[in-house]
């Protein structure tokens, strides 16, 4: 061994160093799969992202608790035609904002983000993986909620491309706000605040209660909320078959720029 002692290639122990990062696509795919499993395995998350939207959709379609303006509806004039777009908006908010904020807040608190920062996966790779996990969850939510809504007699209209565009911009807007919260507040504060905001926006964002039920001055302000823009845009397309909802997309884009920009500037990793 004397001649080769300094040669690392000659050593053959179990732990003999052979460092190297995996190829980037493999790292991001693995991270996205892990993040998705973590989201889908968490009971509280599922309550928020699946159970609550589904229950609200079924309950409010079947029982006339809040008088929805079916008289303005295109198509069947059923409550579900008003509700389904709002519930889709709620599903996006529950995953991209509430769920992501709470999960990321606790990952930060328990050093998960810190430990991953020492791994070969770059930070942008982690954020890409998180976004993929959110999108995968949303696809599952939309599929489930669409099936339930169709079973309740929903007849959607409009261009699916505009729907996809709204959902994507909504996801960007809510992700920015969720990450901003997770990266700046304590995990417990994020948990409380994210749930509170979820509840407030559920009531005041045109999801199940039409904005027209509020005083006119309040309506204008509420209309600028990302959840209101998303439900209004989705309703315009899906219920009334409207064209490209530029105003709503503009509001969502503004929130996305503000939220993601602030998150990038203020996010603290530990």
């Amino acid at each position: 061994m004397t001649a080769t002692e300094a040669d690392p290639a000659a050593a053959t122990g179990t732990f003999t160093p052979r460092p190297g990062a995996a190829p980037l696509p493999r790292m991001i795919r693995a991270q996205a799969a892990l993040e998705t499993r973590m989201l889908l395995r968490n009971g509280e998350q599922l309550l928020l992202t699946v159970v609550i939207p589904t229950l609200l959709l079924v309950l409010f379609s079947a029982v006339d608790i809040v008088a929805v303006p079916t008289e303005t509806a295109g198509g069947s004039g059923r409550a579900v035609d008003f509700l389904a777009p709002g519930i889709l908006a709620l599903a996006v908010m529950s995953t991209a904002f509430t769920g992501q904020a709470i999960a990321t807040g606790f990952e930060r608190r328990y050093g998960v983000l810190k430990r991953l920062a020492a791994s070969p996966l770059p930070r942008w790779g982690l954020m890409t993986a998180k976004t993929c996990a959110v999108l995968v969850t949303e696809v599952l939510q939309v599929a489930l909620l669409t099936a339930v809504a169709l079973a309740l007699g929903w007849s959607p209209h409009g261009n699916p491309l505009w729907v996809a565009l709204l959902l994507l911009l909504g996801t960007a807007a809510f992700s920015g706000l969720g990450l901003l919260m997770a990266g700046t507040l304590k995990a417990e504060a994020t948990l409380a605040a994210a749930n509170l905001v979820f509840l407030l926006l559920l009531v005041g964002g045109g999801v199940i209660v039409p904005l027209t039920k509020f005083p006119e001055a309040v309506q204008t302000v509420l209309g600028l909320l990302p959840i209101a823009a998303l439900s209004d845009g989705l309703r315009g397309v899906l219920q009334h078959g409207a064209g490209l909802p530029l105003a709503d997309l503009g509001i969502l884009a503004a929130w996305a720029v503000l939220g993601l920009g602030a998150a990038a500037a203020f996010f603290r990793w530990e």
Binding site: F15, G20, A21, L34, M38, P120
Partner: protein, 308 residues
């Protein structure tokens, strides 16, 4: 390129607000060695290690790990080092095996995760979510995650804190095997026996500086003097014994029949005492060299008082 040190810290300064955590610290770690960083709580151990890991940007001085700057060369450095944080680092809902496999996936030539699971006794809890693992199991998982990527150098922050004796042994065995396979290890610890057992080199940190560095033997040899102790019949003639001993020695009978000789304790002194005993018809029972432990040295250097 292989000759440069694994870690080279020169004049490191790190402040948190007005508090200076690390104050002009120098530390060199040779490749392929085990270095233990000892120090009281708040001495700056974790700050130093986390600066080497690239988590913290130095306020002064330079840090090179494997010849690279941990902050600006992070992309090149990260795959080559393994990191075990003091706590946490795993998704609460992730299963032990799942998380280790995932960490392996991020590396190009990872170790067999099954082997690591077995080596660290995690087989029985591989399907258990992280939040329901015991503290010791969480520690061992974090250790496995630090080595699974086959790094050249691993940083272990208090790797055996909260472990039971068996798990502690398993961790020690792993560290020894890492070393013999050519992996460098930098570990922080509060356990003196851990440092004595594992480390080629010990750096004692206090007040944000390295106040002593050397092999455990070197550190124990320096500092306070050692002594030789033996028992015999009470009331031996100490003056005669002292005459036989070298100049710098002392001899005392602290308790009847118990004798203590201090001085340059070595084979020569032992022979002198033994031959004096032979000349005086004394059977020196229980003759023993009392060496200072690393703990004695540590307490002598850092003070015995509790820090507030």
């Amino acid at each position: 390129m292989r000759t440069e040190p694994a870690v080279e810290v020169v004049g490191l300064v790190k402040r948190y607000g007005t508090k200076t955590a690390v104050d002009g610290l120098d530390l060199t770690v040779a490749r392929g060695t085990v270095t233990a960083v000892l120090g009281p709580n708040g001495a700056g151990k974790t700050t130093t290690v986390e600066t080497c890991e690239g988590y913290l940007r130095p306020d002064g001085g330079t840090v090179r790990v494997l010849g690279l700057d941990p902050v600006s060369d992070a992309t090149a450095l990260r795959p080559r080092i393994g990191v075990m944080l003091q706590s946490g680092g795993v998704y609460a809902g992730a299963r032990a095996e799942e998380m280790l496999r995932h960490t392996a996936t991020l590396h190009a030539h990872p170790l067999d995760t099954g082997l690591l699971i077995e080596r660290l006794g995690l087989g029985g809890c591989g399907r258990t979510p992280y939040r329901r693992l015991s503290g010791g199991q969480q520690q061992r998982l974090a250790l496995a995650m630090a080595v699974v990527g086959r790094p050249e150098l691993v940083f272990l922050d208090e790797p055996t804190a909260g472990l039971d004796p068996q798990a502690r042994r398993a961790t020690w065995d792993l560290v020894r095997e890492l070393r013999s396979d050519g992996v460098g290890v930098v570990l922080t610890t509060h356990f003196m026996d851990e440092a004595e057992q594992l480390a080629d080199d010990v750096a004692i940190i206090d007040g944000g500086r390295v106040i002593a560095q050397g092999s455990p033997e070197e550190l124990c040899r320096g500092g306070a003097e050692n002594s030789l102790r033996f028992t015999g019949r009470p009331g031996l003639d100490l003056a005669s014994l002292l005459k036989a001993l070298p100049q710098d020695s002392t001899a005392a009978e602290p308790a009847p029949g118990t004798y203590r000789v201090t001085g340059t304790v070595g084979p020569q002194l032992l022979a002198t005492v033994a031959s004096w005993c032979a000349q005086n018809g004394v059977m020196p029972d229980a003759i023993a060299v009392e060496r200072h432990t690393l703990e004695d040295v540590f307490l002598e250097l850092t003070g015995k008082e509790l820090r507030v």
